[in-house]
Amino acid sequence: MAELARNQTPMHTVQEKTESASLWKEGWRRFRKNKIALIGLGIVVFFILLAIFAPLLAPYDFKDQNLAERLQPPSSKHLFGTDDFGRDIFSRVIYGARISLWVGFFSVLGSVIAGSLLGIIAGYYGRWIDGIISRLFDIMLAFPSILLAIGIVAVLGPSLQNALIAIAVINIPNFGRLIRSRVLSIKQEEYIMAAKAIGMSDTRILFHHILPNSMAPIIVQGTLAIATAIIEAAALGFLGLGAQPPNPEWGKMLADSKDFLTQAPWTMIFPGLAIMLTVLGFNLMGDGLRDALDPRMKS
């Protein structure tokens, strides 16, 4: 019996690996066919490159003030014009990509890790642990999310890092619930039963079988969540609770220039466009990923 068990484990893993590899391969094949998703991917890659090469691309330092040249309309010298401190908006928008993407990725990474952990525990062990964790999620979801974020930042003090933490926290229940439901269905699969039957430890089952098999929906949800996180960061920045001056956070740039809406519309248009485009990019890409990775969509 012991011999049999030893033989079976590696066999199973091998089979699973090929299966999952083909899932990703198949997904990529289908994603490639989806033109709109590719546009999304293109936008996202564009902004990532912008963020990485900001110091090379930006013609000016984002914090260089030149009060004599304030509120200048777009020109060849200042492509997007200048703000009320005479700072180059083009450079600020480029540097702003760093902040927004940084907040987007890391806040979502944070909520994915925390959410998955809680979701797996809730789904796998069930009973009272599930009760506690699920009710916790319910409570968090009962708050309007931006209000919860404002509350968290108010307690921690306004800064970019705290805004990131707040956004991560408010997104935990979304991921938690998603994973929990995945776990509940995967738990019933035969290979999990088999793994249990041969005495595999819970941790091993959770992290070697259940988690990898839940990755696809997490990635889809994660991509979409980055879009929302960027909007939330901008909202917190707009309220003065996110990035602090002189950091060029897009939402903060909007807030700073709202007084000049009629006088100097370019101070709002370009950061606004930047927010819109990145969010659109992540949304298109996320939708494409969902179509590509959802097993139910398999023809």
Binding site: L67, G86, P245, P246, D256, D259, Q263
Partner: protein, 528 residues
């Protein structure tokens, strides 16, 4: 059947009620467009007991609820009779005798008389810097202090009050006319105790009706006001709209009738509109950066001087005041007697600033907090923007400033405790005397009240106290000029600007003359 009839009768009565209510409220609305003035401003009052506050937002409201013994002329700070009709000064300058106006009643119906005046001054003299901060800084302290100027206040008869001073105080009459030293109803003070600040009772042209914090303060006409035929307005409402642009929008939409702190950059927009008019308040203010002399690197005079060299005042004025201000080099405006025009301001010189920092032992700069006020002030339309400009200035000499802000009342409270490193603030003179700037803001006696920098210099103190007692105008001015030299050298501030505050109102407002002190009495204001 009887039940049904009863119900019918009741419902009819209810309908009747509803109807009559509607017509009556409709009527008040109609008349309100004529004689209710809604005044939009940037912040709410802290308290409506004028003696307990020093901030303009409180005093501009209490100025209309209370009267002082003397008042200022409409457009400058020369004193004129108010609750006191005439006064005599003894030859030695130590005894002031005031004849009081007869037949004046407080809003609660009690009589205004000499006893009431004595009661108010006793109340303040028995207080401390926490309770009545302004009294201490204008009259040299409190009852048991050596430096206290007023020896006693006594009622000679029902309508005669005598002030006996320990030493002559040149600006005494101007001090007496300041809005914080308004005479309140003794009966009401006894009745409300600590809550008097929310239930103010005075003799002024308007009666306090309602205060919704951070929203509005409603005052109603005092029909028995001693100035016959006034006030013209039926209601005076102060509303708080912190954002300058939002306040302008409210004016353009007709939600308010008059607004202060118009963004200088919005001036053009209003000037071209014939439905509105611009009021320019005569400039008597200073906007500054305070450098708290008890905190970190700022303890060092060289560091404070270095920061003075690092600020490009002209660029800031061009950008944020649209030219409606001039750069400041002294802690008081040029319109005040004693202004030292011979002083050369610290020029904008980054190399010199770095040199001084290095000499002070901070060649690579340092980190500090820079506090920005959350509300627009007449001397600073947008504190946060100016802070951001200063932040960039300081960064050039390696000083990393973190911009911090608090709600207005908390902001002042924390400043008074000396918790800020560098902070933005300003001052609008309350009586047009140099004493009200230099002594009130920078003397060591004023630490804890209006000297937020905790700057303390004994020689300066000696000069300022001497200036208070000298009655010869020329000698006084010489002393104040010397004081400004000391202050410039010690650099407890970066004086930024003297601004011309702008107000905008509906074109049909008549009789409104903005006073340089920033507190306006609306007695004579009306709609054409």
């Amino acid at each position: 059947m009887t039940l049904l009839a009863l119900m019918l009768a009741v419902s009819m009565a209810l309908v009747g009620c509803g109807k009559s209510e509607k017509t009556s409220s409709g009527a008040t609305e109609k008349s309100s467009s004529q004689d209710t003035l809604v005044y939009g401003r940037g912040g709410d009052s802290v308290s409506l007991d004028p003696a307990t506050v020093t901030d303009g937002e409180s005093l501009k409201v209490t100025k209309n609820i209370f009267d002082t013994l003397l008042d200022y002329n409409d457009e400058d700070t020369t004193v004129k009779p108010a609750l006191a009709t005439e006064w005599t000064i003894s030859k030695d300058g130590l005894t002031y005798t005031f004849k009081l106006r007869k037949g004046v009643k407080f809003h609660d119906g009690t009589d205004f008389n000499a006893e009431a005046v004595v009661f108010n001054f006793e109340r303040w003299a028995n207080g401390n810097a926490d309770k009545f901060p302004y009294y201490g800084s204008m009259f040299g302290g409190y009852k048991n202090d050596e430096s206290h100027v007023i020896k006693e206040v006594k009622a000679v008869d029902d309508y005669t009050v005598q002030f006996v001073l320990k030493r002559p105080q040149a600006p005494f009459l101007k001090n007496i006319a300041m809005p914080p030293f308004a005479i309140a109803s003794p009966a009401a003070i006894k009745k409300y105790g600590d809550k008097f600040g929310e239930n103010p009772v005075g003799t002024g042209p308007f009666i306090f009706k309602e205060w919704k914090r951070n929203e509005r303060i409603v005052l109603e006409k005092n029909k028995d006001y001693w100035e016959k035929g006034y006030p013209k307005l039926n209601q005076l409402i102060f509303v708080s709209i912190p954002d300058n642009s939002a306040r302008l929008n409210a004016l353009l939409k007709g939600e308010i009738d008059l607004m202060e702190d118009l963004n200088p950059t919005d001036l053009k927009q209003v000037e071209g509109n014939k439905d509105f008019q611009i009021f320019k308040r005569p400039s008597m203010n200073v906007g500054y950066v305070g450098l708290t002399a008890t905190r970190g690197p700022l303890k060092n005079k060289l560091v404070r001087q270095a920061l003075n060299y690092a600020v490009d005042k002209k660029a800031i004025i061009d950008a944020f005041y649209a030219g409606q201000a001039e750069p400041a080099k002294n802690p008081m405006p040029p319109s005040i007697p004693g202004y030292n025009d011979a002083i050369q301001d610290y020029p904008f010189d980054l190399n010199k600033a770095k040199e001084l920092l290095a000499k002070a032992g901070y060649p690579n700069g340092f980190e500090m907090e820079l506090w920005a006020m959350p509300v627009p002030r007449p001397y600073m339309p947008d504190g946060k923007k100016i802070a951001e400009a200063l932040q960039a200035n300081f960064a050039k000499i390696g000083v990393k400033a973190k911009i911090v802000t608090y709600e207005w009342a908390t902001y002042l409270d924390k400043l008074a405790k000396g918790e800020a490193d560098a902070f933005l603030l300003g001052w609008t003179g309350d009586n047009g005397d140099a004493d009200n700037f230099l002594y009130a803001l920078l003397d060591k006696d004023s630490i804890g009240s209006n000297n937020y920098t905790y700057y303390s210099n004994d020689e300066l103190h000696r000069i300022l106290v001497e200036a208070q007692t000298v009655s010869d105008e020329n000698k006084r001015n010489e002393l104040y000029k010397k004081a400004q030299e000391i202050i410039k050298e010690d650099a407890p501030w970066i004086p930024l600007v003297h601004s011309t505050p702008l107000l905008a109102g509906k074109a049909n407002i008549k009789g409104f003359k903005p006073h340089p002190t920033g507190s306006d009495k609306f007695t004579k204001v009306e709609f054409k």
